[in-house]
């Protein structure tokens, strides 16, 4: 479905004495249809940079991203970019900042309709919006017509997932979508992702620093450390039988319920 080949992103700063930071270093992986793959790593591992490259928010330094076997760097015309965005959508960490607080939440749906090839009539828009809201487990009456501050973090995040679904994407990238939400509402947001995978065969890339979350929700886990991909495999394998030293040390640092640290 989507794959990266030797993806590298180097940030350089300074005019005379150049300093460079290699945020992503030769990362190659594949996203398969109908699977949830988690990109796991600590801060500075490069996982968000990878997501931004895939979403075409930034350009890689070298390497390429292939969507359905086509290199996405050839997408230059705005019409092609809009078409790409209909297939690959993103959800980000902060459910507060993704909204313009001065407008009602309905606006994020209206903006999404601009991505459509042909204009969608108002009556049909209403039906589509209500349908995607129900898909994410939200009651349209409780959400439409409200301002962002009138909704909880979990509701806001689910509204953002709903609006991505309007264009019927094939790939959804979610960057730390639950880290700013309380534990008791986090589960409902996670359930949305697992339902989407099951019912719509959506391919989801779930980016997180939380290995427990990755284990719970993913089919595959890809571990990143300082820009490099150090381990990848089935979620069960990576967590229960880690091979790379970094994965092992990461797992040992996680506080668990059953075992106690010495």
């Amino acid at each position: 479905m989507l794959s990266t080949e030797d993806l590298t992103k180097v940030y350089e700063s300074g005019l005379f004495r150049k300093r460079s930071v290699t945020a992503v270093d030769g990362v190659s992986f594949q996203i398969r249809k109908g699977q949830i793959s988690s990109l796991v790593g600590e801060s500075g591992s490069g996982k968000t940079t990878v997501a931004r490259i895939i979403l075409k928010l930034i350009q890689p330094t070298t390497g390429r991203v292939l969507y359905k076997d086509r290199d996405i760097s050839y997408i230059k015309k705005s019409r092609d970019l809009i078409d790409y965005r209909r297939h690959v959508q993103g959800i980000f960490q902060d459910p507060y900042s993704s909204f313009n607080l001065f407008y009602k939440v309905d606006r994020v749906f209206n903006m999404m309709f601009k991505l459509f090839e042909k204009p969608v009539p108002k009556t049909e828009r209403k039906v589509m919006v209500e349908s995607v809201l129900k898909t994410v487990g939200l009651n349209p009456d409780e959400v439409l017509g409200k301002y962002p501050h009138q909704l909880s973090g979990g509701q806001r995040q689910r509204v953002l997932v709903a609006r991505s679904l309007l264009v019927n994407p094939e790939i959804l990238l979610a960057d730390e979508p639950t880290s700013m939400i309380d534990a008791s509402t986090r589960i409902d947001v996670l359930k949305v992702f697992t339902d989407l995978k099951k019912e719509m065969e959506l391919s989801i890339v779930f980016i997180t620093h939380d290995l427990g979350l990755a284990y719970y929700i993913s089919d595959r886990i890809l571990v990143m450390q300082q820009g490099k991909m150090v381990e990848e495999g089935d979620a069960e394998e990576v967590i229960m039988n880690p091979k790379h030293e970094y994965t092992k040390s990461l797992l040992s640092a996680i506080p668990t319920l059953s075992k106690k640290w010495a």
Binding site: S184, T185, R186, H209, A253, L257
Partner: protein, 322 residues
């Protein structure tokens, strides 16, 4: 033996358009040498509680009632400001606030910040004596000497947090209150900070700790007992094992299954959230504040539930009234 005894502490945020009833009737005790966890989600009142316990109560927060007793039976809330400054803050109770590492003054080296802290309590110490004390303490907590010579922006998040904890414990406080000390840190850095706290207790540098967090798995690793808070109320107090594996209050029962850890059990166990949202504390409902989200609610819950002791646990719920 109790090092701190909190009785019916009540504190509101006094705002122009009304009060936020952030903390209501908080009663619990801290035993000597224990690590007491305070668990709850955002808005439950844990930071407000930390502010009252450390007597750093700044407007619009107002203390409206209650007692805070030391091991000698003195009520901290009744002590004059002078005594609070000299004997209590930093010495009896020290606070590491949320995001403390962001409060380090970036224009001064760490050793100057240490000097400030020590001189505030021991104004007669010479500069050299202060430097030596600081160096020894940092060595005790495993922070390399270069940290003292550095500016805060030269340190990583983990080092800053450990520095702040070292600074707060300079006076060997009887009680160290840490408010979400590891929430902004990576999981491996988190472990070093938690290890530091356990080490401080083992070495006797800190006697007892109040650890505030929303992360139950962390409390499982370091706490002895847990206080569970919801919407400004303490709903349950028990040992770490009892609260996590045998919770009594319906909120605790709903909170424990939301803990996700990379262990095979979670795939078998049903993971579920709690429907609904906490009440608006500007106008909290009468009676039990968890009522709208509670699967066990009955008509009696419209009255405020009492604190009931069930074996080793204290729970505020009508379910356990005889």
């Amino acid at each position: 033996m109790s090092v701190l005894n909190a009785e019916n502490i009540k504190a509101y945020y006094h705002l122009l358009d009304g009060d936020v009833q952030a903390l209501e009737d908080a009663t619990f005790n801290l035993n000597k040498g224990e690590i007491l966890g305070i668990a709850g989600e955002s808005g439950c009142g844990k930071s407000t509680l930390a502010a009252t316990l450390s007597t750093i109560i700044l407007p619009p927060l107002k203390l409206l009632g209650g007692k805070l007793l030391t091991e000698n039976g003195d009520d901290i809330f009744k002590l004059p400001e002078r005594t609070l400054r000299r004997e209590i803050r930093g010495k009896y109770v020290a606070l590491v606030p949320q995001s403390a590492m962001n409060a380090l003054n970036p224009t001064k080296r760490i050793r100057d910040l240490v000097t400030d802290a020590i001189n505030a309590h021991y104004p007669k110490m010479t500069k050299q004596e202060v430097r030596d004390t600081a160096a020894k303490r940092f060595e005790d907590v495993g922070l390399p000497f270069r940290v003292l010579e550095s500016y805060s922006f030269e340190l990583s998040g983990g080092m800053k947090q450990r520095t702040v904890i070292a600074l707060s414990s300079l006076m060997n406080p009887k009680v160290l209150i840490a408010d979400e000390p590891t929430s902004a840190l990576d999981v491996s850095t988190q472990k070093t900070v938690l290890t530091l706290l356990l080490d401080l207790r083992k070495k006797g540098i800190v006697q007892s700790v109040i650890f505030i967090t929303h992360d139950i798995a962390v409390l499982r690793q370091i706490a002895d007992r847990i206080v569970v808070m919801y919407a400004g109320i303490i709903v349950e107090i028990g040992t770490v094992d009892d609260i996590i594996f045998n919770p009594l209050h319906p909120y605790s029962k709903g909170l424990m299954p939301t803990v996700i850890v990379p262990e095979p059990e979670i795939k078998k166990r049903a993971i579920s959230g709690i429907p609904g949202a906490p009440p608006n504390l500007r106008n909290p409902p009468k009676g039990c504040r968890f009522l709208p989200r509670c699967a066990y609610a009955t008509s009696v819950c419209h009255q405020e539930p009492p604190l009931i002791t069930v074996k080793r646990t204290v729970v505020r719920c009508w379910l356990y009234a005889k």
